[in-house]
Amino acid sequence: MNVETAPALSDPDLAASDLDDLGLGREDYRTLYHTMRLQREFEERIYRLFRQGRLVGAAYAGAGHEAIAAGSAYALGDADILVPMHRVIGAHFLRGHTARDMMCQYLGRANGPTAGKDGNMHCGNWDHHIVGMISHLGANIPVAAGVALASKVRGDGAVSLTYIGEGGSSIGDFHEGLNFAAVHRLPMVLIVENNKFAYSTPTRYEYACENIVDRARGYGVGGALVDGTDVRAVYKATRDAVDLAREGGGPTLIEARCTRLLGHAQHDDAFYVPKDIMEDGWNNDPVTKAESLLLERKYFNREEIDGIQEEVKGIVDDAVDYAEQSPLPEPEEALQGVYAD
């Protein structure tokens, strides 16, 4: 959508229309639900391992963001580039990182995607077209723009998809990256995962406009505001934006609203989140919502849903066993890889 045709930006149900006509079949829904369940199960296990002292380093979770992770990454083609953030591990799974890969990454193992050089969600993998994030929020928005610049110049048709929290949207790189992408009409999609809190800071101390997506007009790009707990809405908005980008229509800013259902990280109990917000968040748990949808529409019956849950649990059990049996890196491997050959 271009600026002129960008829909009204303040309607949170905006993308909820037409969701029954997405062309998604039973297998698509299975993949989406499986991805969301796997993210939830994997991250619950990460938290448990942390409490048990079996994890290396910190534990972050995207509880509440599962629909954003799965719905957005599912809209990508194989040649597209994912530039993820820390609450979308489901997007990693869809692009080809396995639960074993990510568990080895979390446990600092030699056979993880970074071979122990970096932890948790900080892994890229060019085989899967995933760019590794860094802790500095927003820093990869300019990188995603550069990825898209290469695609535009070469005409390879690829689109870059990147993310930022509403918290990270305050940093200068958000402006520089999105403005550059807008000026050059680059095939980039930027999703703002608005989960209402930047660590502990509520949105009223983060930005003064009504919606983050209101900025789209200022940048001259398309914008969409979606319910980030509805996997179909996220998928549709992302797919529309990816299609537009691929056709040369430039970047789109998508604001996906959700609630962070846990603290910023394992150490944070989120005491500062008002009870009603947290209750509302759990009442709109994206995983439960997806499950209800699949049952209501009779894509799957209860038994099949339970089967997916069992399967996911088995995948995570296996990932933990595999990672814990995997070797840690040799100390002197710290010297390796500073420079490319």
Partner: protein, 326 residues
């Protein structure tokens, strides 16, 4: 081929790399229509088109970040900082994103950031700096600082062909410096990153330096040669990695070391050289290592202040005499 300037050597080196390799492109402020603030890319827009000569918004973080993204995709961006001073606005991209990517997840980031650096006369605190030392302690980056016209071209080509991020510091005071106009080969050549060059041989003292200070050092050495003192002048050319062996060999021969740079003293790259000589050649020293650098202030604007701030031939000569007299 007639003699060319340092600036023309950079320009022709960049042009030849763009002709040789379609993945090489330029990105920076005012590099297209205007041809760059210093005219390095003059005519490039007409010759290579706007997909390969990209005028960027005034936004150094996205210039470097986007260069990284394109480099991940297999392109070889050459980003221009209009002045090296402005690299601070892209500092995070360089030191946290670009520099650490290969170490963290194995993806090469082959990009060059060109940095017009140094004082050229009354340009003040924000258009005169030599910020190279900030980056010489960042594993994953490479840093070069050519002093001669030949090296300017050869090191630029090596930087572009390197599979790692390279900061290329080009001293603005050398751009049109008549003394270093020289005939350079018409055929393709490179200068390896990490190798120093002996600019003048001598057995009585060593000056280790780089960039424009090479010429002040050579002039000081010439003055003292008239007094029977032979000074070796070693031009580092590359700072990260730097040619430790060349420094140690020279110091073991001359037993006296003066380090000279235009960057300020404290935390400057000279400290690293002094440290490595203290660690590895201490028993060869007949005098304490001496450092000569700009004073520890911002670069001041007014002529007498700036002249007081900067090292020059006279100050190098004095420091050398003191070193020899120890």
């Amino acid at each position: 081929m007639p003699p060319v300037t340092y600036l023309e050597a950079i320009s022709s080196g960049l042009r030849e790399e763009m002709e040789r390799d379609e993945s090489v492109f330029c990105l920076g402020e005012d590099i297209g229509v205007y041809g760059g603030a210093f005219k390095i890319t003059k005519g490039f827009l007409d010759d290579f088109g706007e997909d390969r000569v990209i005028d960027a918004p005034v936004a150094e973080s996205v210039i470097i970040g986007a260069a990284m993204g394109a480099a991940l995709m297999g392109m070889r961006p050459v980003a221009e900082m209009q002045f090296a001073d402005f690299i601070t606005c892209g500092f995070n991209q360089l030191v946290n994103n670009v520099a650490k990517t290969h170490y963290r997840w194995g993806a090469a980031v082959p990009l060059v950031v060109r940095c017009p650096s140094g004082a050229i006369g009354n340009a003040g605190p924000f258009h005169s700096q030599n910020p190279e030392a900030w980056f010489c302690k960042v594993p994953g980056l490479k840093v070069v600082a050519p002093a001669t016209t030949y090296d300017a071209k050869g090191l630029l080509k090596s930087s572009i062909r390197d599979n790692n991020p390279v900061l290329y510091f080009e001293h603005k005071g050398l751009y049109r410096f008549p003394r270093i106009r020289e005939e350079i080969p018409e055929e393709d050549y490179t200068v390896p990153i990490g190798e120093a060059a002996v600019r003048r041989e001598g057995g009585d003292a060593t000056i280790v330096t780089y960039g424009k200070m090479v010429f002040h050092s050579l002039d000081a050495a010439e003055t003292l040669a008239g007094e029977g003192v032979e000074t070796e002048v070693l031009d580092l050319r590359s700072l990260l990695p730097y040619d430790k062996q060349a420094i140690l060999e020279s110091v073991r021969k001359t037993n006296r070391l003066l380090v000279v740079h235009e960057d300020t003293l404290t935390g400057g790259f000279g400290g690293e050289i002094a440290a490595v000589v203290a660690e590895e050649a201490f028993e060869h020293l007949d005098a304490p290592v001496r450092r000569l650098a700009a004073i520890d202030t911002p670069v001041p604007f007014s002529p007498p202040l700036e002249q007081y701030f900067l090292p020059n031939t006279e100050k190098v000569t004095t420091a050398l005499r003191e070193l020899l007299a120890y």
